[in-house]
Amino acid sequence: MSRPPCPGRKGGSVSSVLFFLSAAFLTLISFGVQEFLPEITWAYGAKFILPTTIFLAAAVTVSYPFMLMLAFLVGFVWDARHLSFTSGIAETSGMVMGTGELAFGYSILLFGFAGSIMQGIRPLFGRGRFELPVLMIGIVTGLWLLLEYLLLVFRRGNPVFPESLWMKIGSTSLLAVLISPIILFILHKLAQVTHYEIRYEGLSRRGYGR
């Protein structure tokens, strides 16, 4: 009996690569679009964080190796864009105080971690359930923000957790939940264009008794 073609992809590995490249391109474009999105001042400076939302949405649609590649790409650009570079020789005054800045590359780690969590719900997404991924994108966005803040606290000391912190994390997570269905829809369309079928290989393998 001949072995059935891998049902995870309509067009095999070429489709996977094409879809991954499209998702990566979409994520890179989102960095530019992000600059045009204002903060919502009454929501403690919350805003749509497009690169993160697109990455998290893409993380449930691609395989684990592609998710890690995407995490590296997004984390690298994020740090290059947002971390401040100082010469390290003029830290002001003679008092002993370190810069307390995060190491370049920390975002890659955070995105890798967040993407791994999203990979855990791929089976549900593969079955066509959109509710949990949408909810999870909000939760993981909040977790990602909190981890980033905790890393800052760890580096700089003096742990402070003001009310505005929780409001900002909560508002940003909510905004991510609101925008994620649109992102997932765009990714779904991209998958159609590239003939990529968003499915979970593990489930399909079990289904075919391999």
Binding site: E35, A80, S84, M95, A103, G105, L152, V160
Partner: protein
């Protein structure tokens, strides 16, 4: 775990290790390049937003604008005179310091710049300005406007630069409270990424008496920020177990700041310049670059011919034969 996933994870960790071990120079180059890529986006964004001040001016009458223009021209002329006097004094101070064996003070020039982006970071307060390496802007230079200190430069690309705002925890300024002996470090508060945060002045004496309303100015300690520049006003003093802390309201509203100056230090050589070396050129010479407000030294006739130096040498106690130019 599938073999391919395991291999991907190993490759990911290896790549992460490579990024973490990047040296400072490579990291700076990467960040500078990425900032340069983003610069056209920032400029487009600024162009689309428009300048609210210009829009407001369009609504005003021509007569009001003409009167305001005349007033500004008068103030500019006055400022030029003050600058000239200041430069003259700086040259004299440098000469006298050199004679006394002190390190000469540097001269400063200001590079005017405009904010083209307010960074959409989560926990950092910074802006991007439209002047970069090609305009003489470097890393770790103080930035101010006509009111007070705004922050310091971070990564610099050829045509833009990032400025860490004073309200960011990463920007620390050695400061003193005017009218007291209290000195400390002024820094921003964590997590206020919109530039609206308050400042904290730390490491004050725990039993200090600091009433609200006193001015906080930079002390110049550390050498990065110039001394005597306004930082903010004390709102409240909080006694601590080890040291006191003051809540400071920033002098400049950093959430709306638009025009600013990058301060570039011109460090002179160790040798005292000969009077003929620093004498002004002919009066009709135009500055090479109009975008840079250079504090060209003005040497009065008494200094140019060396008579002032001779006068001071004579006035200094025990100076006979002990001081030479």
């Amino acid at each position: 775990m599938r073999k391919i996933n395991l291999l991907a994870l190993v490759a990911f960790i290896a790549s992460l290790a490579w990024v973490f071990t990047l040296d400072r120079e490579s990291r700076g180059q990467i960040q500078s390049r990425v900032l340069e890529w983003f610069t056209p986006i920032f400029k487009t964004q600024t162009a689309l937003e428009g300048n609210p001040e210009i829009e407001a001016d369009r609504q005003r009458e021509a007569g009001v604008l003409a009167a305001e223009n005349a007033e500004l021209r008068r103030e500019l002329a006055e400022a030029r005179v003050y600058r000239e006097r200041s430069d003259q004094l700086q040259v004299e101070v440098n000469k006298l310091n050199a004679m006394l064996g002190f390190v000469k003070q540097s001269r400063e020039h200001l590079i005017p710049a405009r904010v083209i982006n307010r960074t959409a970071s989560n926990w950092w307060s910074s802006v991007v300005i439209d002047k970069g390496g090609e305009d003489g802007v470097g890393t770790d230079l103080p930035v101010r406007n006509e009111i007070g200190i705004i922050g310091k430069t971070a990564q610099v690309s050829p045509n833009s630069a990032k400025v860490i705002l004073l309200t960011d925890e990463q920007c620390r300024v050695a400061a003193q409270i005017e009218g007291t002996l209290e000195q400390g470090i002024v820094m921003g508060t964590r997590g206020e990424g919109d530039g609206k945060g308050e400042l904290r002045m730390r490491f004050l004496s725990k039993d200090a008496t600091i009433p609200p309303g006193l001015k906080v100015i930079s002390s110049g300690a550390g050498g990065l920020f110039p001394a005597g520049v306004f930082l903010g006003t004390v709102q409240e003093f909080i006694e601590g177990d080890v040291y006191g802390e003051a809540v400071v309201e920033p002098a400049v509203d950093l959430s709306v700041v638009r025009d600013l100056f990058v301060i570039v230090q011109d460090f002179p050589s160790d040798d005292v310049p000969a009077p003929e070396d620093v004498a002004p050129s002919s009066g009709d010479a135009e500055p090479e670059d109009q975008s840079v407000l250079r504090a060209e030294p003005y040497i009065p006739p008494s200094t140019a011919d060396g008579s002032l130096v001779q006068d001071v040498q004579a006035a200094l106690p025990g100076a006979e034969g002990g001081i030479s130019e």
